[in-house]
Symmetry: C2
Subunit: 136 residues, 2 copies
DNA sequence: TTCTTGACTTGGACGAAGTCCATCGTAGGA
DNA sequence: TCCTACGATGGACTTCGTCCAAGTCAAGAA
């Protein structure tokens, strides 16, 4: 993720302190923050950053494919910087913790031809659910 | 789904015209309506039904396991009356159409032990994405 | 059949998440 | 150093959903 700033510069992005701070907050493994959490952590380093800028930057990163949006049931979207590594998610039904996982097998191949309804199927998202050790 | 009213009565539900109409709207295959769509269709039969009652009834049906909530990316939740038949979803990236599908294979078994992080994994949700014939 | 009562419905206020926009500020090239 | 187009800002606005006090009525009792 530290190379992200270089890639953005290469795409002609004007490098601002706000964008740098948002990119720094999105660094690490198993990171799946909501926009408000990103704003909170960014504001710890750059107190005057606005919510609108966080939303703008996250939206731009998603459009560039540098960050993935993870939808949750009825809660705020989560932003996942681990976009270069295809993966799925394991979510704790108790506390909501999210882990990146890599199932084996070919999930797309498991969809029978007669259930494709003529669609050109391109991808599949999988969410495993269960209780984490702390919640069990 | 027509048996739903009987099951609800068996659970001690007071049978009101509002609940009957919501149950009727949720009848059929490949039905994945938003709460507002349910309200719109219910109001066609019972014009004075309120949004609050639609939300209340949907929430109760979900709590009883008679209806499933399907989360979408950033849009309103969808309500799925096909809860007695375990299935996954195929979604058109163009128009948003949702079809019920039944992949073969054992998706839970495809999650390696070393990636379970000690979780008791109980279920997996899969969303296939692609373009439907009309959008392609 | 009528009465009674607590479960159900209603509309509107409220809240959380996210978008939009006019205005101001500044990164980075000339 | 100066210019200016791109980006940041904050507040209004929208969408989706929840909550509540007050009124209504389904269904059991008599
Ligand atoms: Mn992830
Ligand atoms: Mn379904
Ligand atoms: Zn947990
Ligand atoms: Zn389509």
């Amino acid at each position: 993720m530290s190379d992200l700033l270089g890639r953005l510069r290469g795409r002609g992005w004007r490098m601002t302190s706000q964008r740098r701070v948002v990119a720094e907050v999105l660094d690490g493994d198993h990171v799946h923050l909501t926009a408000d959490e990103v704003h909170l952590r960014a504001a710890a380093r750059l107190p005057e950053i606005s919510r609108a800028t966080v939303y703008n930057t996250l939206g731009e990163l998603v459009a560039l494919g540098e960050v993935l949006e993870v939808s949750t049931v009825g809660r705020a979207k989560r932003y996942d910087p681990n976009a270069r590594n295809p993966h799925q998610h394991l979510v704790c039904s108790g506390c909501g913790t999210v882990r990146d996982v890599h199932p084996v097998g070919n999930a797309i191949g498991d969809l029978p031809e007669e259930e494709r309804f003529g669609f050109a199927v391109g991808s599949v998202e999988m969410t495993y659910r269960g209780l984490c050790p702390a919640c069990a």
